[in-house]
């Protein structure tokens, strides 16, 4: 029988200029393919009505996604349940195409009784995972659509003194399913001191309640100092205090997005006014790819592992041969799964024996 040779790794080392082979073009080759294909990104926004979610989305992506929206009045809102509404927009810049999907959650937190109002949202996220799992396990994997939610912006009202119970419960229900980025909404009603106090308070409470919000990855040691400094500032600034605007005002001789008050003009893109620019840069320009990666490598994998374990143990119980999705019988199952299957098997046997005994007793009694 033929054997595969042992793999030995050798470092041939750096090639000098003279010995240019040419595989340094690989990133460009990958680049070219991605530009052709384009990218997609799914962003969820959650928070009570009137927190400025739609305005912020419009400001971030320079779109006007909500112009045909009809706002409900208080009476209409009494019977409203949490809905999930998707908007899709194609954006192209410098030849790069992005298919952006915004998942809106109107109705969240608006009712009198908001018990478990996040359930439709967690269900939606799970559904996208399930769909992807089916597609990925299926036979034709050519054009799988990735509808998984890559990021959830959660809007915390600026009026309180930190996180409210609904904020805590929502984030805890979602922090292991999606990347959560908490934001302080409508930050133009707070002074700089108030913002600082609120941020500190929120950060404390996030720690205290064990909420796992999205963590920025560590900087590489070989990054330049400027990048490291920016990265540090970003991390110290969370949660971002944001302001959005659908209107253009004239400030300091320029036309900018802003809000006109009798006492002054708030400029959305002015870093001393709010953290909008930091949020935009982080979300789009530096961490979009990482958000997608964490969704795929962590949240989705957790879902998938859980799903498979549930399915495998169910198969043992139900005595079924066909599984709902095509999966191969695992040739080397996890030790945990094995134990679980063994346990369930034994349990089944015991129950069957008990049942037989009972039937026998009844039969005897009748005789």
């Amino acid at each position: 029988p033929n054997q595969t040779g042992r793999n030995r790794s050798h470092t041939v080392g750096k090639l000098t200029e003279k010995q240019y082979v040419g595989f340094a073009t690989l990133p460009n080759q990958v680049h070219r393919k991605s530009v052709k294909k384009g990218f997609d990104f799914t962003l969820m926004v959650a928070g009570e009505s009137g927190m400025g979610k739609s305005t912020l989305v419009n400001s971030l992506f320079l779109t006007d996604l909500y112009k045909d929206r009809k706002l409900l009045n208080a009476e209409e809102r009494i019977n409203q349940t949490v809905e999930i509404i998707k908007h899709t927009v194609d954006i192209e810049e410098k030849g790069v195409k992005l298919k952006l999907t915004i998942v809106d959650t109107p109705g969240f937190g608006d009712a009198v009784n908001n018990n478990e109002c996040w359930k439709p949202i967690t269900d939606y996220i799970d559904q996208q995972f399930e769909q992807y799992f089916r597609d990925e396990s299926g036979l034709n994997r050519k054009n799988i659509q990735d509808n998984r939610v890559h990021c959830c912006l959660y809007f915390i009202p600026p009026f309180g003194h930190g996180l409210r119970p609904v904020d805590v419960e929502f984030m805890k229900a979602l922090h292991e399913k999606v990347n959560i980025i908490p934001l302080i909404a409508k930050a133009d009603c707070l002074t700089p001191n108030e913002i600082k106090k609120l941020k500190d308070r929120i950060r404390e409470e996030i720690d205290k309640f064990g909420i796992k919000v999205y963590q920025f990855p560590e900087c590489d040691s070989d990054e330049d100092e400027e990048f490291k400094q920016l990265d540090k500032e970003l991390k110290e600034c969370t949660p971002f205090a944001v302001i959005g605007s659908n209107t253009v005002v004239e400030a300091r001789g320029q036309r900018v997005r802003g809000r006109l008050y009798p006492w002054g003009i708030v400029e959305v893109e002015n870093q001393s006014h709010c953290d909008f620019v930091k949020l935009r840069n982080m979300l789009i320009r530096s961490h979009m790819h990482d958000l997608k990666d964490v969704t795929c490598d962590v949240h989705y994998e957790n879902y998938r592992a859980q799903c498979i374990q549930e399915m495998t143990s169910k198969l043992a119980q139900d005595n079924r041969m066909e599984s709902p999705i095509p999966i191969l019988p695992l040739s080397t199952p996890d030790v945990d799964t094995e134990k679980l299957i063994k346990m369930k098997d034994e349990e089944l046997k015991r129950m069957q024996e008990m049942l037989n005994k009972m039937q026998q007793q009844m039969h005897d009694k009748e005789q």
Partner: protein, 343 residues
Amino acid sequence: MSEATKPQPQAKGEKTPISDTSYVGIDAILEQMRRKAMKQGFEFNVMVVGQSGLGKSTLMNTLFKSKVSRKSVQPNVEERIPKTVEIKSVSHDVEEKGVRMKLTVIDTPGFGDQINNENCWQPIMKFINDQYETYLQEEININRKKRIPDTRVHCCIYFIPPTGHCLRPLDVEFMRHLSKVVNIVPVIAKADTLTLEERDSFKKTIREELRANGIDVYPQKEFDEDAEDRMINDKIREMIPFAVVGSDQEYQVNGKRILGRKTKWGTIEVENIAHCEFAYLRDLLIRTHMQNIKDITCSIHYETYRVRRLNESNILFTSNPPDHPAPATPQPNGVAAHRSSVE
């Protein structure tokens, strides 16, 4: 609903999108991807197949400008023709301009060297399928690795001896079987024994024979993505198989140091396209189509294997083929898990 963004001019203070000078910054995602790719590094697995003495190891060394072949790594092992086809892998970590790559060269000594070469492609086919199987098993695992190590053979360079006549039955058999599971790049080895006319007519004959036998070598026509690709690949298809000469010896020619072979009648410059087509092979394999070669392996050859395995496992739920006995682990309801053989 889908709509492209279009700025509309309106009066100050009213609801209006920002003017054209504003910029969201989504193209920065390319830079993010590049950063990540540079950090992770790339993998490339290339197999060389052909009889002894056709210059396979030398060509690999020439392509990657370093001693990457098995022979270079084990220089003192006595060269002998093995009794059966062996598969020997050697991996190297190479780096160029900050781009790191793990290059694996898979050698197949013994191929075509026996008196009776029947079915000598089978160990090679098995090796390729085994790599697919390993990847598949990792992919369906419950707790799978973030980045599944890719040992799949991305490209198989097949060395055709420079007879000048036509393909031999062994060449046809090998390529016919393997072009279905891996990207084959046929090359005419030791092309310095052919004149330009002989080379052209040999290539034409080979192309006709490949066509006549239904052998699809890389770049396969059916996998061209769009018109632009087709144009580029058509030009390549008119030139294959590339007639190559390899060398790891440097000589001085016209004041430059070049890789070549020195003979009494002249020096053959390996990278000179007037002398041989090595440069075209290098460009195809490394500089322009490397990513595409990997993509076709992943999204087509591997997927074909996977679909076949999924279908098989639903039917052959209980049989245990001879060379893959069922592992001795308890399974739900006594159904034996197995890995069915592919051939």
